[in-house]
Point group: C2
Chain length 343, copies 2
Amino acid sequence: MPSTALSNHQIRLAARPVGTPTRDNWSFTSEPVADPDSGGVLVKTLYLSLDPAMRGWMNDAKSYIPPVGIGEVMRAGGIGVVVASKNPAYAVGDHVSAGLGVQEYCLIAQSELARSGIFKVDAKVGTLTQWLNVLGMPGMTGYFGLSDIGQPKAGETVVVSGAAGAVGQTVGQLAKIRGCRAVGIAGGPAKCDWVVRELGFDACIDYKSGSVRDGLKEHCPKGVDIYFDNVGGEILDHVLAKINRKARIIICGAISQYNNTAPVQGPKNYLSLLVNRARMEGMVVFDYADRYPVAIVEMAAYLKDGRMKSKEDVVAGLDTFPEALLKLFSGENFGKLVLQVAN
Amino acid sequence: MPSTALSNHQIRLAARPVGTPTRDNWSFTSEPVADPDSGGVLVKTLYLSLDPAMRGWMNDAKSYIPPVGIGEVMRAGGIGVVVASKNPAYAVGDHVSAGLGVQEYCLIAQSELARSGIFKVDAKVGTLTQWLNVLGMPGMTGYFGLSDIGQPKAGETVVVSGAAGAVGQTVGQLAKIRGCRAVGIAGGPAKCDWVVRELGFDACIDYKSGSVRDGLKEHCPKGVDIYFDNVGGEILDHVLAKINRKARIIICGAISQYNNTAPVQGPKNYLSLLVNRARMEGMVVFDYADRYPVAIVEMAAYLKDGRMKSKEDVVAGLDTFPEALLKLFSGENFGKLVLQVAN
């Protein structure tokens, strides 16, 4: 049992950002760690997942989940270790994945266990950071978005933006496993090289150094059958201009638009959907939660046999959270961005 | 057999329009009527279908069918009567539907019969103008777009723009037959009243006299499950803001954008697709040609039992074609726009 003398450092949403979040949008608080009541568990945070979706949760807008309230601990998924338990399903020392929040300790009451999404993770199946990457929410997003909405067929061309990011690396590698041509879009030669050499994509277009339009023309000689969109903006329009008949576009995110203070840029080439009898469909990974276990088994097998690789970009220190988060929007992160909170 | 002294007046594309087409985009020619060769038929045009899609065919752009070439007779579907035949399947006096073009006579060689889409129409099943409306291409567009892409379920709310137009009237009436709530969007009180009183829509929003946003709020208290979009532009954005989870948006056209000289306005609310796990899908009616006969039987039954009504706006005279076409874009037509070429 932890002593109540232990202090829990937390990062809370202090004010809603306009445009890019700054340090002023956060407050840094500290409170004593409480013991769990009957049925509850106390989890010590080890790693937190930093995701583009967090930016959306900071806005006071109707979305697929309620916004984080002002004064609340910032929402975040993470991996931790159970340090106190009054629930027979969780033993001290168990590693778990759960909605821990941006804080050092997370006390989860019995009534909150389901909502926290807590489950035990097996460090023999994947490393703790892989459980936030290909075995975690980004991996599940790529898996179900590509499989269920994309419905890839061998020989088709799959394009994915944010290719070096957490979701993108899963999508491209899974596309290859499914027998497709995988073409990434990423920023900078280092990411593009890595996506091709390490992950085995057929090509990767550097949107920072050349024309995406020309890149698509060169690397998608048979057009685009599936586009997995993480970025929105102009890149979505360039891909719309290259889609094939009956193409499927998965709208997973629009990172280029999240810090906009101007209205979102709509895809002006959307009538390509009409010409090509194509489909654009949105997805939210939580809808597939009951099928995560099946997908995790499949992904773990690919990790083991080497067909799936996983790269995490680990930043250390809870207090670096405000700046670390911004790496996602500047494109500075290389691989799945993870905040290490404790060893 | 017609005498070759008969003259065939034709309207040809003379120049590609920039923005709204003018009379200068057309040339008016005349040539002798030729007799059909073996297997061919000569059809006298009675009625031509004027459709928003025609504007797209005038552009030199890749689309679902090739553009009309400069100097070619303008493409148009129509209803005519066979006046000479060297094909045992068609007798003089038969009424047929076919791609006749904007001309008084259409000579269809045997090798061109399939491509012309020719089929005999039964004037006892529907009037000749109904064969260009609910029993014709617009009816088929509404039928397959709503049924196949929309997949309506009883109790759902279906919104359709261009509600008083050819496709719109079919969509709303079919939605009612399928047990849905049908809400139209149209321009002006006369059209809106007619859509509600005559066609039986639950409501119709007048986009010319009020806020579409407020209208949707009032008339779609349970949100929007299906949106059949004929217009694009701001109305699409307003509906995107009101869609329900798993909504289906059928992209059939974007008449508000066809005469634009500026780039098409993309739907800036497209991320509502993500939040609502919704789908936006394009359709082209020609893909369903092999299923037209089944749909026509169903639609004819609805016409007969009074559940489906059909309104055509008939303009007379081949030479009025350039001005008549523009009624579609100003919203002046009331019902399916038809050009009467002969009695």
